[in-house]
Symmetry: C2
Subunit: 496 residues, 2 copies
Amino acid sequence: MADALEQLKERLTETQDLGKIARLLSWDQQVMMPRAGGQHRAEQFGALVKVAFDKFTDPAIGKLLDELQPLEESLDPDSDDAALIRLTRRDYEKAVKVPSSLRAEMARASSEATPVWVKARAENDFASFLPVLQRNVELKLQYVDLVADGADERYDVLLDDYEPQAKTAEVRAVFAELKPPLVGLIAELRDREVDDSFLHQNFSEEGQRVLGHEVVDLFGHRPDSWRIDPTEHPFASGQGRNDVRITTHYHADNLHSLFSTMHEYGHGLYSHQQPEHLERLPTGGPCSLGIHESQSRLWENLVGRSLPFWQFFYPRLQETFPEQFGDVPLDAFLPAINRSKPGLIRIDADEVTYGMHVMLRFEIEQDIVEGRIELKDLPQIWNQKMWDYLGVEVPDDTHGVLQDVHWSGGMIGYFSTYLLGTVMSVQIWQAVQRDVPDLEEQVGRGEFAALREWLGSHIHELGRKYTPQQVLERATGSTLQAQPYLDYLRLKYADA
Amino acid sequence: MADALEQLKERLTETQDLGKIARLLSWDQQVMMPRAGGQHRAEQFGALVKVAFDKFTDPAIGKLLDELQPLEESLDPDSDDAALIRLTRRDYEKAVKVPSSLRAEMARASSEATPVWVKARAENDFASFLPVLQRNVELKLQYVDLVADGADERYDVLLDDYEPQAKTAEVRAVFAELKPPLVGLIAELRDREVDDSFLHQNFSEEGQRVLGHEVVDLFGHRPDSWRIDPTEHPFASGQGRNDVRITTHYHADNLHSLFSTMHEYGHGLYSHQQPEHLERLPTGGPCSLGIHESQSRLWENLVGRSLPFWQFFYPRLQETFPEQFGDVPLDAFLPAINRSKPGLIRIDADEVTYGMHVMLRFEIEQDIVEGRIELKDLPQIWNQKMWDYLGVEVPDDTHGVLQDVHWSGGMIGYFSTYLLGTVMSVQIWQAVQRDVPDLEEQVGRGEFAALREWLGSHIHELGRKYTPQQVLERATGSTLQAQPYLDYLRLKYADA
């Protein structure tokens, strides 16, 4: 039995290592690869993903899992080995339900759709995107048909790909609780005058670069294990605890890069503090996209848009950009970086309005999966919801239904994790505050070790041993709750 | 039969793609990876190489090759398909002779030896390196035992790993022809006074960077397909025709980087001009290390140290470094960059002395493989040969037998390809001159299109369809010859 476990671990180690290589290929493609190398990269990626998938769905793994069932039942369910067998069984059973022909077709449809989407978005031409969207959705529904057996509802299958074992009904319930107060708060804040004109000036790339690196140094990392590079669309990539790569995009006329660097730092720290003894096993990876996002949002918003942080760091910003901020007092700067104003674009949205952008997509995705709407009607549905939730008129599809890459890549079920993470980030922050009573004072002194360590021991080091729901409950003592997030926003925007 | 061929191609495409990924991992490790990521990278590399090797040695490939024998015999031997079957059979038969346990042990021994070598070199401590060298050699000899069947001599097996189908006896014969005239020329030149003091000044990294990029632009490349990055030990890496990455190292006190960039450009151009229709097949790759080196040496030496090139480019160098070269006339600069002086270190050697550094290693390697010398005596043997061939006294092993990484990495059989490439580069240059009579005038005008195209159609586009010997003969009309290289040196150093 121990031998079967060793064999399983050896096989999984191999597929995990191949998965890390896939992440490196993707990082390289977005950060380093010469532009013309795309075709080569697609081929390399295809070969690697196929090999890794074939290795993971090898019937030998199923056989080992069967052999290991008695062992699993005899072990403490919280033990590393029980968690590994449990998690692998779950992943394996889901993976083998989908023939590799369908996987290949999904991959092809997605890679064919993306350039079509790029063009359609640039040209505000939803009609040209519709056929490839239809194809992606069609394949996704075939996928759901194959996997849905036993699920409470069909959308659960898709949600589970990003937020394992989350139930659509539960997410819906939390979002339903958020929606009326958020819509109310948005309406209330929309006419509040906040001057943020000084955030829209010219900022040298070098100044932004220095500040971004300084923030990451301050939050804390091991320089021999991290790198920060410019790219088009920022993201974080982890090839292992000691190889963490975050990216940013320097805009000439705003400071988005600074906040997005804090965001990616949160993702990076999660990778950096994964459990060392599970490093090469599936249980050693991150738990879910929602938990991942809770980490990035915590550093970006709970730390990075807070008074204590800027009491410490604002002088550095002023020093770096004296012309822009020399005459701006902190009590003008802070409301400006927290200004809430409904807008068209999700990724530019503030903390208050962001949730409605996500909910709109979550609702539409469920309607698609349940066949309640036709894809050709998406622009109209989108625009109506933007008006209802945010009071915003959508001028064209480029700034509406065509704005995100996800659907062109077949990523249906992904969006809600952004809001789940945001909601969780506040619950987690409050839990840290309970254990580290002077947390805000520490932040005000530029000290982050206790925060990093708390996140490490309560969240990061759990790896993927538990479900996201279990991780949240272990870390905070509570299930997913809308109220803390609403209270946080109320308090923050009462002050403003 | 056509079906078997398609199946073979599909399998080979996959292993080729995985091979390109391995090259990317290696590039990333040397250029981008955070320092602490080494352990992760070794694991990822191990997983990838194992998968690729298992795929290539799958008995199904042997079976397909058997099935394809009649087809191969019926095809024109110069056809792409015949070449593919022939080449794959050769690679396959060699690969399956070596059990994966021995491969794994060799990989482990090599990765364990490298840090020991680094330390031993730094501390001038050959004794501490000896045990790991012994282990590497031992395993290499086991490898030779397994593969040698049918070889004329045991060293052929090792040479063949780098220079397919080259025979040790032939290389020995050419080197024997080179040796006395080279030793003579070295002695003759050693006391010739050439002032190169102006090459040993301070050169800004930015100036070097600009010039290096300018040279590569001038030689010709597609900017969307190439990148140039700084690294510790320069190399070139190709992940495909449209993803070519060369590297360089900027020294503060000399211009080595400029010449090494020309060298790596030659390697890069070879990758860039590989045959497109064979891109993802083994026949589409580079032919051998010797042929590869002929390309780099041609651009570095035949172009990059020539009068016509510097007639064109010297004003740019003077503009970039006016303090260093403003008062130095071209007819002082040119002898300085071609100065011949025996030295201790192979990679710093000039065109005249370089060959003896290689021959010394080639002789020692054969003696090791034939058991004619004991490893513990290497320092003494090394120092004696340095004295005999170059008239140089070796002060310590750091600057002697410990200087190169190759043996610690188990790379025995590699060195001679450096000199083979150098010798071939002159034969190739003369062949281009026959077909492009105004070649030197073109170089003097900074025009390189005809040269690039000649190299493309006569060498690069042959890929790996032919042996290096065949490629040389097709390109130049001649087998490997020592005389052109000797004549070239005689002429060049008569002028100096």
